[in-house]
Amino acid sequence: MRKNTFDHKTIGLAFCLSLQMLFCISCARGQTSKTTRAVPEIKSEQPDAPTPASSNEAPADERQIKELVDKIKLIDNLPPKLSQPFNGKYAKEIIELGEKAAPYLAAKITDASNSNYSYLFRHKVGDVALILLQKIYQTKNFPFPDDSEKLPSKYGDYRDYTKFMRSAKARKRLQNSWKNYIAQQKQQSKS
């Protein structure tokens, strides 16, 4: 009797999904190119108000929030689907802070140093911050929450994100977009 060997492919679909899913689906890195570019390490900025000039003078809860968000560099476990619960260490605590953590996370977006998290590619600290912001706000647009900019679509998958994030000032523009969005959300919740 003839056997059927059934090979089940979802790779193509998975790549497309990553653009919607806050890029928890990391880029797969391919073969060596002839030249490699160094990615500059950018230290994260301090978040905007409400923090006072010196962190030593910050209210205890602000300090605690900042200290917790600073731990995103240690996060090594995030599910590759935004709608799933984030139960991993530090990620869960930060998500539970909700919008209180948002300014501190937005400050991290420009941090291009390596995080402890990899999914198809080694995520930068700023990439992890973006994941957590998307989890908190459940934004429809990716990665710019206000849709002020769109990712080029060369590959149709996560590689569009990683390539874009390596372009000049992309992280800064993304950070500004999130800062504006966070401010708008805060304003709307007051009114």
């Binding site: 003839r2 790779i11 998290y117």
Partner: protein, 181 residues
């Protein structure tokens, strides 16, 4: 690309410890995004080998993530969540008694109650998945793709893919290791 590479290796018997491909066997690659479609695709029957290339995870109860949307029927898992289609809904009769299933997604056999374990418990077949923690990585390094060495930092850095080269989906941490259930 990984599925195509795997098919090539099946046909040429280059991928070890899987049912041998014989002349006359049919190989099908199917892209699905819903549990119902996954189950429907299996209705071809007489299945000797099933390989899954896609997203998966184990955060307590393992799941295959067929689609990223927060929508019903986008996961295959016995977790009982609103987006989960139970692995126990997969009909056993579509598989041969000695069939094998191999899950190439992240954490397919990691920890307890992994997707591989759920498949094995339900279908009573040999099921393999990666037991490594963390996410996955695509590589065009054959040695790494075949689990003959551990992932190095350089493997995780951005490199351009060659579109025509073979590609493997492997765990990003350690030496790719399959666990059997």
């Amino acid at each position: 690309m990984s599925a195509a590479t795997h098919e090539k290796e099946l046909r040429s018997k280059l991928f070890l410890n899987v049912p041998a491909f014989e002349t006359g066997d049919a190989v099908k690659i199917v892209e699905v995004s819903r549990g119902a479609a996954f189950i429907e695709a299996l209705s071809i029957g007489n299945i000797a080998y099933l390989a899954y290339f896609g997203h998966s995870w184990n955060d307590g109860v393992g799941a295959l993530y067929l689609h990223g949307a927060d929508a019903p029927d986008t996961n295959l898992s016995n977790a009982g969540g609103v987006n989960d289609t139970a692995i126990t809904k997969i009909p056993k009769e579509n598989f041969r008694a000695d069939a094998q299933i191999r899950l190439f997604g992240c954490q397919g056999a990691f920890g307890t109650n992994s997707a591989a374990e759920q498949f094995a418990n339900h279908l009573k077949l040999k099921v393999y998945g990666y037991s490594n923690s963390g996410g996955s990585l695509f590589t065009q390094d054959k040695t790494l793709g075949h689990g003959k060495r551990a992932v190095k930092k350089a493997d995780t850095e951005f490199k351009k893919f060659k579109k025509t080269s073979d590609t493997w989906l492997i765990p990003i941490n350690g030496t790719p290791t399959f666990r059997e259930f």
